[in-house]
Subunit: 229 residues, 2 copies
Amino acid sequence: MNKKAVVLLSGGVDSTTTLAIARSQGYACYALSFDYGQRHAVELKAAKRAAQALGAVEHILLKIDLRAFGGSALTSAIPVPKNRSTARMSQGIPVTYVPARNTIFLAFALAFAEVRKCGAIFIGVNALDYSGYPDCRPEFLRAFQRLSNLATKAGVEKTREVAVHAPLMHKSKAQIIRTALKLGVDLGLTLSCYDPDPRGRACGQCDSCLLRQTGFAEARAADPSRYKH
Amino acid sequence: MNKKAVVLLSGGVDSTTTLAIARSQGYACYALSFDYGQRHAVELKAAKRAAQALGAVEHILLKIDLRAFGGSALTSAIPVPKNRSTARMSQGIPVTYVPARNTIFLAFALAFAEVRKCGAIFIGVNALDYSGYPDCRPEFLRAFQRLSNLATKAGVEKTREVAVHAPLMHKSKAQIIRTALKLGVDLGLTLSCYDPDPRGRACGQCDSCLLRQTGFAEARAADPSRYKH
């Protein structure tokens, strides 16, 4: 069985935990991160730390300029929403949604998987906390799985299909945090914030910080984040 | 009806003809080209000329470094095959195949379409001349269509689905050239070669040059390309 996997790694809790899960299942991991003009580019330092700490074979950082298109609070001048209730967060698709981001990330992961001859892609998407993001849903991933079987040389020649794994899909943030801690992940390496300061301190008020804080509280664990406030 | 379309434009005969077709159908066209570390980056000048000549509303050139992965003669040190017969070309998947390239290009096209509120994507893929490329087949495009309906905010909210059009899918190179000439396209603007010199002169010997020459001969039209030899 092919035990080589591409792991999409942003440096947040979810993708770092996903990398730890892939490692714990015996995969040699090829981590892939993107500098896509996000406001929170300091998260890439977190990705680098996580890739090293968790023993990725290789870590590639790709620069792609999603700012050329605009259209998201994460890549343009639209303000990041602060201090919203979880009820509010779950209404509609948030302005922090980046158009087709996971489609783009998975497309690159597929290219990387094909070149490095990997049989799997791991992605830390989650349908519970990110119900508003269309490209975090199981039906989206199933459609990508179907596409990937038709898109590559190995898929067409039936020599190797690339299985898309999303081990966090149905976990709550608290369950993800407990999984990470059980696998010995130092969550102090991770950064969740959409709007951190240049020193990498989290804002504590954006949706992502609030979900993280609620998750740690529910998991009855201490959040090692450094916060501005 | 939404008459705005993203058109993937490489600057070759196929994508330029595709842009002309979209324009002739009344679409306002948002052209999208990629600098992906290809050997033949002078083709981007051809794309720029074509976008202007055919009246694209906007032309975005995205830089993405597919060289980071390697694995194709178009982006790495693998030599571009020369002087192959068409029978030889059609055997298996050529080394000029770029892993998951059309998946990546379509993913970006989808993001661009979503931000500019376009209802269509046009791509100049062709199943006849490029039978060896998995991501040029109708079943691949159908899978991408399915994915795109699930991937975007507009798709999920059912406000606007993005229809993927491949008007050249079943045309021969000669038919494509005749279509272009009928639409008044100056094919002297285009560059097909995988291995041109820095001044933009075609090699005349790679698969793409040979297909072009055969196409012009079959269409009984003069090839306005500048060749090295």
